[in-house]
């Protein structure tokens, strides 16, 4: 018989059976079939479009379908400058996404306000929603965005199926004043 060592999957007697844990199997399924919601506003949005296009082709990572409804998306890709007027809308989009959900912040503007240190621009989306991976650059090249997505995949594969019940996750959402239906 095979056994699980270090999270690796082993075949049993080369018979086509595999042994793993449910967490890992579902994690792998989630990671390789993400439905991203692109929230692309400015120049970084153009780089994001190149990433989606046939040259860089995000579809080969199981991200064929861009979800333009937050209710069916697992990954929020925020690419571009978010003005303070847009901030409540971004937050509403995040709140409408169903668990489990992850957030990728693409570019200096989304991550920190970037060059727009000004009264009208939100100084980083992590002031209103939690962010999992930051991609630096102004704008980042498509390779960097793909690297960010690979980091998201690594997170998703390791994520516990019960993340939303964990105290740490709940207290993080609580810090952002985001309501959850998990009691």
């Amino acid at each position: 018989m095979g056994k699980i060592t270090d999270g690796k999957v082993e075949t049993i007697d080369y018979q086509g059976f595999q042994l793993t844990t449910l967490d890992k199997a579902i994690g792998a399924a989630r990671a390789n079939s993400m439905w991203p919601l692109p929230f692309a506003t400015s120049c970084c949005g153009i780089e994001y479009m190149a990433t989606m296009g046939s040259n860089y082709d995000l579809a080969r990572f199981g991200m064929e379908r861009m979800s333009f409804s937050p209710r069916q998306a697992d990954l929020l890709i925020v690419a571009g400058t978010i003005s303070k007027k847009l901030a409540p809308i971004l937050r509403q989009v995040y709140e409408q996404m169903a668990e489990p959900k992850w957030v990728l912040s693409v570019g200096a503007c989304a991550s920190s306000g970037g060059i727009f240190d000004t009264y009208s621009v939100l100084q980083g989306i992590d002031r209103i929603i939690p962010v999992d991976v930051y991609v630096p650059g102004c704008p980042p090249r498509p390779e960097q965005i793909i690297d960010g997505i690979m980091n998201i995949h690594a997170l998703v594969k390791e994520e516990s199926l019960r993340r939303r019940y964990s105290d740490k996750y709940k207290s993080m959402l609580n810090d952002y004043n985001i309501e959850t239906d998990v009691k």
Partner: protein
């Protein structure tokens, strides 16, 4: 102005003949005829320019505000750029208004396109266009409580902590 069928001198003479002292001053920076008029007369003069059979200055290119915090009782300027498409001629009108009463008559009755430009000028400078049908903020958040292009407000976001103030002019 090149390719224009009327000259600055001709237009100024025609304006002066009609309005006399209401044209407070005039200059031609970069060959663009610029006249200063009082806020009470601005509407009348713009209307005349639009309707005049010779000048036909009937296209509003731009409308905006300027803040001069050190000019006593002339703190705000409202600037109109108007264009004659027939004569290929441009003219600029400036009207100064005081901080204590920053208001001027709307020209939305003459140019429908002035609607959003006046809202923007109100949004950023707090200039009141009396008679405007819907003078509310257009670009900034509705609940913003100041007019950000006035020079007493800093442009930077004051909640940033990761920047050294010495290098950012704060």
């Amino acid at each position: 102005m090149s390719n224009s069928t009327i000259t600055n001198e001709f237009a100024l003479a025609r304006l002066s003949a009609k309005f006399g002292d209401k044209i407070i001053s005039s200059e031609t920076p970069f060959d663009l005829l610029t006249i200063e008029v009082s806020s009470a007369d601005a509407h009348e003069i713009i209307q005349w320019l639009k309707e005049d059979e010779v000048l036909k200055v009937s296209y509003l290119t731009n409308l905006g505000g300027v803040h001069y915090p050190t000019e006593k009782d002339r703190e705000f300027a409202v600037v109109y750029h108007i264009h004659s498409l027939v004569n290929n001629f441009r003219i600029r009108l400036k009207s100064f208004i005081p901080l204590s009463n920053p208001s001027i008559a709307t020209i939305t009755d003459l140019f429908v396109g002035a609607n959003w430009m006046e809202r923007e000028t109100f949004d950023f400078y707090g200039i009141i266009f009396t008679g405007h049908p819907n003078l509310t903020r257009i670009l900034n958040e509705e609940d913003m409580d100041y007019h950000p292009m006035r020079k007493e407000y800093q442009l930077e976001d004051d909640t940033r902590q990761d920047k050294d103030n010495r290098f950012f002019g704060r």
